[in-house]
């Protein structure tokens, strides 16, 4: 049933479906998954503001451009323009995806050993792929994830071997490029084998991007027993870029997952960050900062699913909103029946600077077990005028004083970053943004 007037793109997708459904590497299991997800998408269509999950975010304007479906053909970029995107001082394996397609010639890939990196379609024969792919993202009630599952055939497969830690962090560069409207969809699967660990810095950057793009990406990340990950996401698009990102993390026993999300530029960013702690002893920390200006719309939805007893989560999202920009934060802590001894915390702080800025905050708790400690808090306010005044009495200019206050506000989150070069880099981006 088509329930919305988001029709043009929907109709185009339906019309082109034969062409879009070239079997991927003749893999029957994957093909079956795609078909079932396609059925879900046909039923769901694109969301409207009548859907609870999209109540504050009207996707309609971002569906209007006459998108072409991005192909899998390579795009020629020269290596020097890529090097300019390296994070200063960060010695890392560089993996470059251009419009969702892995480009080994632009990447610095690790030797065989701890890390295995493959284009998604090349991995589909592997048992790890068969075991995990599509198992964690549910498409029955998730419009964009259904579309992604049905259509995305490029992306990245990354595996960290059992009991190992890669010698360097992984710098995952997602580049978007193009001069005409494009719909880009890709899908990543990251598997951390038992007791492995990973530092992953994901960066989303436009390069020679002058046409409107809609990126619909999905990532599944599996942390098997005892694994740990530090996952950074730096979203720094431009005014042409609309992004819908679904990240689904599954944590096995005694795992640690840290997510650091920084939403800086981009016309529209929607992040669904779902973490399922499926075994005792799992721990997750989600930190997010969104700095918006102009007409930006940044929407962060998080969902922490405590499935078994004895897990912990901690979530802290902060936002500074300027001009006419809008922010949405929706966080849910879900404690399933029997998930006793859960300890979950969630906080959302917002500062509205722009006179026409809007923030919609929806921190939620759904608790089905009694022996738990769960709490959340949300505040919306202004930069402290008295603090600004204090700084100015000390001879600090107004701009500098405000910038200092925003930095101080963000400090709670940036101080959690353990990779020094990444911390410096993010602070620099924050500076540029203010």
């Amino acid at each position: 049933m088509m329930t919305s007037d988001t029709g043009a793109l929907y109709r185009k997708l339906v019309e082109d479906q034969d062409q879009l459904f070239h079997p991927v590497a003749q893999d029957a299991q994957w093909q079956k998954l795609r078909q079932s997800a396609w059925g879900d998408f046909m039923r769901l269509g694109f969301p409207t503001t009548r859907h609870e999950e999209w109540k504050y975010t009207n996707i309609l304007p971002f569906l209007q451009p006459p998108y072409q479906i991005a192909g899998k053909n390579g795009v020629h970029l020269n290596a020097t323009s890529i090097e300019a995107l390296d994070i200063p001082g960060l010695d890392a394996w560089r993996i470059v995806l251009v419009n969702g397609v892995l480009h080994p010639e632009l990447s610095i890939l690790p030797e065989a050993g701890s890390l295995r990196v493959l284009p998604l379609e090349a991995a589909c024969g592997l048992p790890q792929f068969r075991e995990h792919f599509g198992r964690y993202i549910e498409t029955g009630n998730n419009h964009f994830a259904a579309l992604n599952t049905a259509m995305a055939s490029s992306g990245l497969f990354l595996e960290v071997a059992r009991n190992t830690t890669p010698s360097k962090p992984v710098h995952l560069l997602h580049l978007t490029t193009g001069s005409s409207p494009l719909l880009i969809q890709y899908r990543n699967l990251l598997v951390l084998q038992p007791r492995s660990s990973l530092n992953l810095v994901e960066q989303f950057v436009p390069l020679y991007l002058s046409g409107d793009v809609l990126v619909n990406s999905a990532t599944e990340m599996v942390l098997l027993e005892g694994a740990s990950a530090d996952h950074f996401r730096i979203q720094n698009g431009n005014q042409h870029e609309a992004t819908v990102n679904h990240t689904q993390v599954f944590q096995d026993a005694s795992t640690l997952y840290n997510n650091h999300t920084y939403c800086l530029n981009g016309k529209f960013i929607r992040n669904n960050t779902h973490v399922a702690i499926g075994a005792p002893g799992g721990e997750s920390h989600l930190y997010g900062l969104y700095l918006t200006a102009g007409d930006q719309l940044v929407d962060n939805h998080t969902f922490v699913d405590h499935r078994k007893a004895g897990s912990r989560s901690n979530e802290w999202y902060k936002g500074v909103l300027k001009d006419r920009s809008s922010g949405v934060f929706s966080g849910k802590i879900f404690v399933r029946p029997g998930a006793q001894k859960t300890n979950a915390f969630q906080q959302n702080n917002n500062i509205l600077i722009g006179e026409n800025a809007t923030i919609n905050s929806k921190p939620e708790l759904e608790i089905f077990a009694d022996d738990v400690k769960c709490s959340h808090g949300s505040t919306t306010g202004q930069l402290d005028e008295e603090a600004a005044f204090y700084l100015r009495t000390r001879g600090i200019g107004e701009q500098t004083a405000r910038s200092m206050l925003v930095h101080a506000f963000a400090y709670d989150l940036t101080e959690k970053i353990r990779l020094e070069p990444v911390k410096r880099y993010i602070n620099k981006l924050i500076d540029e943004k203010i």
């Binding site: 509205l352 809007t358 919609n360 929806k362 708790l365 608790i367 949300s378």
Partner: protein, 481 residues
Amino acid sequence: MKTDKEILEDLSQREYEYGFSTSIEMDRAPVGLNEETIRFISLKKEEPDFLLEWRLKAYRHFLTCEMPAWQNFRLPRIDFQKISYYAAPRAKKNLNSLNEVDPELVATFEKLGIPLTEQKMLSGVAVDAVFDSVSVATTFSSKLGELGIIFCSFGEAVRSHPDLVRKYLGTVVPVTDNVFAALNAAVFSDGSFVYIPPGVRCPMELSTYFRINAENTGQFERTLIIADKGSYVSYLEGCTAPRRDENQLHAAVVELIALENAEIKYSTVQNWYPGDKEGKGGIYNFVTKRGICRGDHAKISWTQVETGSAITWKYPGVILKGDFSEGEFYSVALTKNFQIADTGTKMIHLGKNTRSRIISKGISAGRGQNSYRGLVRVAAHADHARNFTQCDSLLIGDQCGAHTFPYIESRNNTATLEHEATTSKIGEDQIFYCNQRGINTEKAVALIVNGYAREVLNQLPMEFAVEAQKLLAISLEGSVG
């Protein structure tokens, strides 16, 4: 001493104490809902044309409504055609004193402890008792009349003050607000009407007891309270209902209007029949309550203690339109067995320098599900709006649920909004501490729960605070998580 398990079993098996039913002849409308039913009700109540038209407008809107699906529970299918929309005790004309009231009815009120009789008048409560659908006795009217206060049944207000009714009816909860508000507007049978003239401070707490009696009779009450400039009124609403195996729908509408410098305090103790321990039966309490602070410096305060009903679903809200106006919401909601509560508030800040405060305390036991759902919205021109929200949940037993769904929307960069929520169980250390001092576990739990809810109970007028504390104690003594 009982073990925890026994105490819990006790709690979950405790049956409704006020379950009895009265046999009185009823004057019923034919079962079913159509325009004829509405005309029948309107005719019975000798209503002016504008009201009939308003009812029909609401009914036509009702026909276009779909049942909501966003709530945090499965909405049971309600067959609106199986409800009788009008039932009234056979009227004896113009009752002047209690002696003329059906003695059986008076006995029912006595059983419920409603202060209708002479000595109870001394307690200072004016009671507009609604038995099923029609007000049968109104006390203190003359005393209030001296001050110019109008406190009467809705039907009477329509007859004697049609201009006031016409001016304010449906201005806070329009017929198009939601499906149950539309239904209520179409078929409401009676309710209460209060008007406080400018500058008058109502000298007593006004109170109405509702009671569902007839089988298969939905209760559609409508309350309209208007506090004119600089006036003050405190209004109490409380209910108990006899036990019944069939589910009953209660879809009331309450509208509060506070003009400049006026203050309205509205308190509810709700104890409808919650269904038995298997979750069978019980009242569906789907109520639309909303107030508007129309003038500057107006104040509206909602206090509610919800312990009954199979499903409680309501969000008493305040529209803060006047500058410097103030809204408050204090709530204790208790669910046990298979009870469901999806309740909270809406604070809509429109005026400048408006303030709101929300304190919500949920208690879930057995298999009860308790949701707080609250909206705080600051419009673009509501400079310097201020909100503080605190919602706590207490879980007793491992099969219940406590949920929090706040919606915080700000379009103004001078607003300061705070929200915090916690979920926990009664600490073993707290119990242990009490035990240590010779307080047994049962009493300790009552003590802790009472302390937990104190912030809200303190807001209730004296008479109600006692009843509310008793209710909480009856429902929860000895429940150790």
